[in-house]
């Protein structure tokens, strides 16, 4: 009996202490992580639609199923400068979160990738300016070069390039359909 209970009790003690440490660590890092996430989002919003103050649109109507949130950007006198649309699309390694700035006419003002799970050195190149800057100024329905479109895809990472393009398309579509109401 002792041969079974002693190891079981000791394993339990080790697990219990580890769980306590993890809980403590999670508590300590909770606030810095939340602050980091918010900072990343604020920076991304400011980058895709400069000089605007943002208001979150509470009950937006999603046109594509990738749109997860919309912020209206207004200038100092309250006129609508554009929209920052958050999208989550499905990419090579999992979900890809991005923010797309679109002006009221449906032209892209900027794109930033917030998080992704793609391969470093390949799909992860979507986070580099060389790739995402090309979307600035584009409008209409976009497609990557392999599909006959105007988006220059990342070498060996067509799936990631498509994922970003889908998000940009949905963002433009949302603004074209609903933008007039704000």
């Amino acid at each position: 009996m002792n041969q079974i209970t002693t190891p079981a009790i000791r394993l339990f003690v080790i697990c219990f202490v580890c769980a306590l440490c993890l809980g403590l660590c999670s508590e300590i890092t909770k606030e810095p992580i939340a602050a980091q996430t918010k900072k990343t989002q604020d920076e991304a919003m400011a980058a895709v639609l400069p000089d605007a103050t943002f208001e979150t649109v509470e009950d937006f109507e999603s046109t594509g199923n990738t749109v997860t949130g919309v912020n209206v950007g207004k200038d100092s006198s309250g006129n609508t400068m554009g929209f920052v649309v958050s999208c989550t699309t499905s990419s090579f390694g999992g979900p890809l979160e991005m923010m797309v700035g679109v002006d009221p006419t449906g032209t892209v003002t900027g794109v930033r990738i917030l998080s992704h799970s793609d391969t470093p050195g390949l799909g992860a190149k979507a986070t580099e300016p060389e790739f995402y800057e090309q979307f600035t100024g584009m409008s209409g329905t976009l497609a990557v070069d392999k599909d006959g479109g105007q988006v220059v895809s990342i070498t060996s990472s067509t799936i990631t390039s498509r994922a970003v393009t889908v998000g940009v398309n949905d963002a433009i579509a949302w603004v074209t359909e609903n933008g007039g109401a704000y």
């Binding site: 041969q3 002693t6 190891p7 079981a8 000791r10 394993l11 080790i14 697990c15 580890c18 440490c21 993890l22 660590c25 999670s26 890092t29 810095p32 992580i33 980091q36 990343t40 390694g93 998080s115 992704h116 799970s117 391969t119 470093p120 050195g121 390949l122 992860a124 986070t127 070498t155 060996s156």
Partner: protein, 203 residues
């Protein structure tokens, strides 16, 4: 003290975790795409390895033989999670670059191999040096592989372009086959160089 330095050098060179023990292959092949990725992964692994080795060594008389593997894994997984939380909170840049590789530290064989093969049989100080040596050996190898693959694959080292634009980028080198080629060649050269020199004390 002399013995500890010997343990440290063993980990880095004569008993290098990747080149000699041939453990931790998955992480080696996946993260050696560039120098920065390799060093980041290496140092994160070193941090977990040192902590896990110390704790396993302290608990070596408490851990029952029959359930030692679950105990090691719980300790390793806890430290990995702690490292991930700390990186997310205080070093977001490294966390972004290494994202999905951090949780993979748990399944890196180096950690279990050192816990089972060294820390569970040796004192705390020796285990610290063993963890540090193996971690640094792993980091050094990842850095060298990262440099070779980054140079041949993208014409850059540490993200800086050092070859003219016309340099033919060998895409194969940043993809999986390039990792196998590089590792195989490095392993052959390394074994040739240290053949007959210095015997691991463990064997």
């Amino acid at each position: 003290m002399n013995k500890n330095i010997r343990v440290l050098i063993d980990g880095i060179i004569f008993n290098n975790p990747v080149l000699i023990q041939v453990v931790g292959m998955c992480a080696t092949l996946a993260t050696s795409v560039s120098v920065i990725n390799g060093v980041g992964m290496g140092l994160s692994t070193t941090a977990v390895l040192v902590c896990a080795n110390i704790v396993v060594s302290m608990l070596r008389k408490f851990i029952p033989d029959t359930v030692r593997i679950p105990c090691f894994i719980v300790v390793i997984a806890s430290f990995t999670t702690i490292v991930q939380l700390l990186l997310q909170a205080y070093l977001p840049a490294i966390n972004d670059a290494l994202g999905i590789f951090i949780p993979l530290i748990v399944v890196n064989c180096i950690l279990l191999a050192r816990a089972e093969g060294f820390a569970s049989k040796n004192g705390v100080v020796a285990s610290f040096f063993d963890g540090l040596g193996n971690g640094l050996g792993f980091t050094a190898l990842l850095a060298v592989m990262g440099a070779i693959r980054e140079f041949l694959g993208s014409g850059t080292v540490l993200g800086m372009a050092i070859m003219p634009e016309a340099f033919p980028e060998t895409l194969l080198m940043v993809m999986a086959p390039g990792a196998f080629f590089t590792l195989g060649i490095l392993m052959a050269i390394f074994k040739h160089l240290i053949a007959g020199k210095g015997q691991s004390e463990e064997e």
